[in-house]
């Protein structure tokens, strides 16, 4: 696991360094007249904001991948009723939410600079926003149900239904012609190798980081669940011991009461006989 974390961090670091040193700037609007920079003719403005996508897209893809994992574990829970799958699904949802927040932050900053507004109800943004609300709703649902069995079942179903929005959000820019969100994942992306390589390095690096985060969180959540179960067992043992002590005390009292009444019975009989004689 540490090897994967180091590898993921190294790949992402290479992505960032490559992005700002070797990857060329994307061209924007036409210049009033061409200019030669470093021996190359430049006819358009250069866009720095596009550099955001080298990390924004890998983070977004990681959010979809981890959510797929959450839906898979939710399905496994419904099939097996094994609670460990519920914990795994919840953990994957947690990591999904973190990556969704990171995607939202970076995407919003790009939107603010390029489109001049913080938010646009554009198909990709809208479906991704719905995805975020669904993941938040998943945790609200988790906290609203006390019974562990019902909670796990309801959340598994909700998690699977929520995941339906992930492929919709991923594909919506291709399916809706009016979508103005840039499309990066396509066979004819036209990315030159100097841009494609850092992007792919970032993608694999971020997927590795997401997986390591999931595994670490899963270990901690499984331990926390075990602690909760142990606490419950101890409390039950305490309650049983208290009940047993109370039963013992009651039994002793009953025996004592019986012996007292047995001892007082001959005296009572004697007293009755004296009364009759009198």
């Amino acid at each position: 696991m540490p090897i994967m974390l180091v590898l993921g961090a190294v790949l992402t670091a290479i992505d960032v360094v490559w992005t700002f040193t070797l990857a060329p700037l994307v061209q924007g609007a036409q210049l009033s007249e061409p200019v030669v920079i470093g021996g190359a003719q430049v006819t358009t403005k250069l866009l720095l904001s596009q550099k955001i996508f080298y990390l924004h897209v890998p983070v977004a893809v990681a959010s979809f991948a981890v959510m797929a994992l959450a839906a898979f574990f939710a399905l496994r829970f419904l099939m097996t009723k094994d609670r460990s799958y519920d914990v795994r699904s919840k953990t994957a949802m947690e990591v999904t939410l973190v990556f969704i927040v990171a995607t939202m932050i970076s995407g919003d900053l790009w939107t603010r600079f390029e489109w001049g507004v913080w938010w646009v109800w554009e198909p990709r943004l809208t479906t991704y926003f719905i995805l975020m609300l669904l993941v938040i709703g998943y945790f609200i649902l988790r906290n609203a149900i006390d019974d562990p069995e019902r909670r796990a079942r309801f959340c598994a179903v909700f998690g699977i239904v929520a995941f339906v929005d992930a492929p919709i959000s991923f594909l919506v820019t291709r399916l809706v012609p009016s979508s103005i969100h840039p499309v990066v994942f396509r066979t004819d992306s036209g990315l030159p190798p100097m841009m494609l390589i850092p992007f792919l390095l970032g993608l694999f690096g971020m997927l590795m980081i997401a997986f390591v985060l999931y595994c670490t969180a899963q270990r901690i959540n499984a331990d926390a669940l075990e602690v909760e179960e142990l606490k419950q067992q101890l409390e039950e043992q305490d309650a049983q011991a208290t009940r047993a002590a109370a039963d013992d005390a009651l039994e002793r009292l009953r025996k004592r009461g019986a012996s007292v009444s047995a001892a007082s019975a001959p005296a009572h009989d004697e007293h009755a006989t004296q009364n009759q004689e009198g």
Partner: protein
């Protein structure tokens, strides 16, 4: 600066704070989660310690 070069880079400098903020935001979100996980791990280990002590106390009581 050459007016044409100034035009070429006119979108570069204004975008810089947004690009930096985006990169910082992504790492910040991940770091906050790592922090939450480390606190949760510490809390869990404290709980395990407390449970172990409770069990030991219970066993010593039973021995008496």
């Amino acid at each position: 600066m050459d007016p044409i070069l100034s035009e070429v880079y006119s979108t570069v400098l204004p975008a810089a704070p947004f690009v930096i903020a985006a990169y910082v935001g992504i790492w910040l979100a991940l770091m906050v989660y790592v922090l939450v996980l480390s606190r949760r791990a510490k809390h869990t280990s404290d709980d395990i310690e407390a449970l172990r002590e409770a069990l030991e106390r219970r066993e010593s009581k039973r021995d008496l």
